[in-house]
């Protein structure tokens, strides 16, 4: 019996190790600094950790190798998603400085769990093995379950946490069952080996295998909040602390789509004809239901939750088309989507107050008169979400729909276009309230802080830059999706 101790290549794990170490340090220092005046600095520590990790993540670019007996993989695809989740983490931390203070959230655990959640995302997206992928997914999910319930004494927050936990545990069971069936029919849990075994001949497509694939799609569909596995989304997004909602709507979605893409396009691409129909239906249902339900929302936070469901639908278009050479558009879209969504949630945060979140649409009435800058940036984010050129949201949608047409999925493209027309209504409704309605009640000036100003500024810059000069980022996305060739 030979024990195969893996070679210890810790050099490639510097970003992950940095995040883990900073999470533990933050947790410990929060106990020591509780009393003193150092409490505000607790947020700076994870920010430093995230920036350092991001710096080292850039160094991983173009590194392609397997670590630890092929249980962990460094490739451009994983590196891209690692960088995206770290950028999202940085923006969320910037937003949290004032928000955590205002809402009286336990600081140390809040930041530590944010870091642990990001660590889970990084592990999730850079593994070609179901075991590692599953542990990463769980690490991410469990951190988020807890983060949802951190608003002290707020019943909606507790409800969000419990609801997400119960349904999430159920979805995890689906995913695990899917993995078990795949393992039972192929005898391996490495997704590249699944692909080679399946293509190698002598493999029969059995109902057991297809059931495993379907269960995997259910599990990932839940994590990406696709219809019909979206039931938890509006309540959880509404009840969770707004900074965490922003984190869930962007980080969790990006990481889950990353892993979904990797599994579908590596292991199951030979069965493309089997799952393209499933994803076609998922995409159409997700877009349509997300957009139509968003029309009726009078709460901006809830409206953004439905809008995030609808955007998952647009991304699913690209997955359903299933062209591996074009998968870079998904990566580009996720990047764009993250910036505009975080920006919109940042405005929701600064409009709010302790004990009155002011998320109703009437709180936005007359915002342009009271604070033209905030109204202007909110308008930028909403126009971008609606897909108005020259903003980044337009380019993202444009590339996805072009892919669909190029691959011959005309109906999917038409439904996508019709949906973005519907979506324009509810985004522009908020803009209309901000510019053309008189304020009914005085809710005061926005609760501005340096952190949120920086986060908003970065998002605005990114929305313009990605929209006007998309080429560089498309090339990066293209290089990242080279692993599927």
């Amino acid at each position: 019996m030979v024990v195969m101790i893996p070679e210890m290549n810790f050099g490639w794990l510097i970003p992950e190790i940095t995040i883990a170490v900073f999470a533990v340090i933050t947790l410990l220092l929060s106990l020591l600094w509780k009393k003193g005046g150092l409490k505000p600095f607790l947020g700076v520590l994870p920010l430093i950790g995230a920036v350092v990790a991001l710096y080292y993540t850039f160094h991983l670019w173009n590194g392609n190798l397997d670590l630890f007996n092929r249980l962990y993989t460094i490739d451009n695809f994983g590196t891209f998603f690692k960088a995206v989740s770290l950028i999202i983490l940085i923006l969320v931390i910037l937003l949290s400085f004032r928000y955590v203070d205002r809402e009286d959230i336990v600081v140390g655990e809040y930041y530590a769990l944010l870091l642990f959640g990001t660590l889970g995302m990084m592990i999730l997206v850079s593994s070609n093995n179901f075991i590692t992928m599953f542990i990463g997914l769980e690490m991410m999910s469990i951190s988020i379950y807890i983060l949802c319930g951190l608003l002290a004494g707020n019943l909606k927050s507790v409800e969000a946490s419990l609801k997400y936990f119960l349904l999430g545990a159920f979805a995890t069971a689906f995913l695990l069952y899917g993995i078990a069936l795949i393992y039972a029919t192929t005898g391996t849990i490495d997704i590249r080996e699944v692909a080679t075994y399946v293509k190698g001949g002598g493999f029969l497509v059995t109902p057991t295998f297809m059931a495993g694939l379907a269960l995997l799609i259910v599990g990932f569909g839940f994590k990406t909040a696709s219809v019909p596995f979206h039931m938890w989304t509006p309540d959880v997004y509404e009840g969770a602390p707004t900074s965490i909602t922003a984190y869930m709507a962007t980080g969790v979605k990006a990481a889950a789509f990353g892993a979904f893409l990797r599994v579908l396009f590596t292991a199951f691409h030979p069965f493309f004809s089997g799952w393209t129909i499933m994803l076609w239906i998922l995409a159409v249902a997700t877009m349509t239901l997300g957009n139509i339900t968003a029309l009726k929302q009078d709460d901006v936070k809830r409206m953004l939750a439905y809008s995030s469901i609808a955007h998952a639908g647009y991304i699913l278009i690209a997955l359903a088309v299933g062209d591996r050479t074009l998968s870079s558009t998904v990566l580009y879209y996720l990047l764009v989507y993250s910036f505009m969504t975080i920006g919109a949630f940042a405005v929701v945060i600064i409009i709010g107050r302790k004990d009155s979140p002011n998320t109703g649409i009437e709180s936005y009435a007359g915002l342009a008169g009271r604070h033209p800058v905030v109204a202007a940036v909110m308008a930028v984010f909403l126009f971008s979400l609606a897909g108005v050129p020259p903003l980044a949201g337009f380019m993202g949608k444009f590339y996805i729909l072009t892919d669909a047409i190029r691959a011959g999925y005309y109906w999917l493209a038409i439904i996508g276009v019709l949906n973005s027309v519907v979506a324009a209504y509810y985004y522009l409704r908020v803009v209309m309230y901000m510019y053309f309605k008189e304020a009914q009640t005085d809710i005061g000036l926005p609760d501005f802080s340096v952190g949120s100003a920086v986060a908003i500024a970065i998002s605005v810059w990114a929305v313009f830059h990605l929209g006007i000069f998309p080429r560089t980022f498309l090339m990066i996305a293209y290089k990242s999706s080279q692993i599927f060739m």
């Binding site: 195969m4 007996n69 336990v106 655990e109 029969l204």
Partner: protein, 178 residues
Amino acid sequence: MGAIGFKFVVFFISAVVVIVSSVLMITRKNPIHSALWMILAFFFMAVIYLLLNAQFIAVAQVMVYAGAIMMLILFVIMMVSLDKGHQEEQREQKPSVAKKVAGALVIVILAVELLFASILYQATARPGVYPADAVFSVGNTKTVGSLLYGQYLFPFEIASILLLVGIVGAVVLSKKHK
């Protein structure tokens, strides 16, 4: 009766007991009774694991699930007052016809799928690296241990961070706020 026949009888008995006690577990009104039926289901699951040559998992099942986890569940049931459960019952509504039909439909579809899957089942997987004979010559526990600390060292290590997240969460959510 040969070894195969004996194995089949043992499997049949334990499978029936697992199914019956699982059904009883979810239908009992008294939570303590449910917990006791759950212990029974866990025990006979361990017997099935033994039949599959997975001695280590069988022992872990008895010690961890039937032992430690059940103790915790019983503690919780005894600490949380039981009367609340009875009050909930009265507010319970009868499911509508539509719900009943939908539920029945799902069950029928699942049953048919199960039937098809078991009739059409083919062993398509390639042979594993650790067949029963190889595991037998080394020992089950030793094989699991060497895999856990050897080939699967990385997931094993990150699972410890996962547990840390769980602990932090349990503490922060149950902590009394000012």
